[in-house]
Amino acid sequence: DTTVKQNPRYKLARVGKPVNLICSQTMNHDTMYWYQKKPNQAPKLLLFYYDKILNREADTFEKFQSSRPNNSFCSLYIGSAGLEYSAMYLCASSRGLGDQNTLYFGAGTRLSVL
């Protein structure tokens, strides 16, 4: 089973309110990623966990938090949503790190901030 699941599929949030997105995988993959995808833009890496080690991108360091309570689950947390957070959020996982690893993606969560 090569499934990455994301919940919910659609999320509506108010400006200034927190948002929590969930991702799970059953492949026992070491690494889980979060990407942000806006229309007509490339998916942008926000952060990734390798095992229990969190790596966050420099330009999004303070905007997104994440937790990985166990190997299968990973969350993406926005403390105070702004209009600019409206996007598709893609979760992915891979076995280990390295150039050769295939990423398996979930279908995404579409976040709309009003």
Binding site: N40, Q41, A42, P43, L45, Y104
Partner: protein, 114 residues
């Protein structure tokens, strides 16, 4: 900095016609290159990947791609397009970012006409 450029945002082809999607990369050193496809309402799926070696890479569903170091390109081809190929295609390069994570292009939407 590493980057990927997909110059064509949208391509329309007739069913049965050939298809070429362009991808240019910028990378210092030897790149690892990927093509991912996103079908409607699904997550991104790996189509094919290139590791240093044979410049022509075969993928699933009759797709192939050719790596050119001199042109910094990794174009995707298919000899005969089927209606089920209607999707968004993303080119990506593997980049060191505290580990290894994919840098994507903006994607090319392929529409198939009867």
């Amino acid at each position: 900095a590493q980057s990927v450029t997909q110059p064509d945002a949208r391509v329309t082809v007739s069913e049965g016609a050939s298809l070429q999607l362009r991808c240019k990369y910028s990378y210092f050193g030897t790149p690892y290159l990927f093509w991912y496809v996103q079908y409607p309402r699904q997550g991104l799926q790996l189509l094919l990947k290139y590791y240093p070696g044979d410049p022509v890479v075969q993928g699933v569903n009759g797709f192939e791609a050719e790596f050119s170091k001199s042109n910094s390109s990794f174009h995707l081809r298919k000899a005969s397009v089927h209606w089920s190929d209607w999707a968004v295609y993303f080119c990506a390069v593997s980049s060191y970012q505290g580990g290894r994570a994919l840098i994507f292009g903006t994607g090319t939407t392929v529409s198939v006409s009867p």
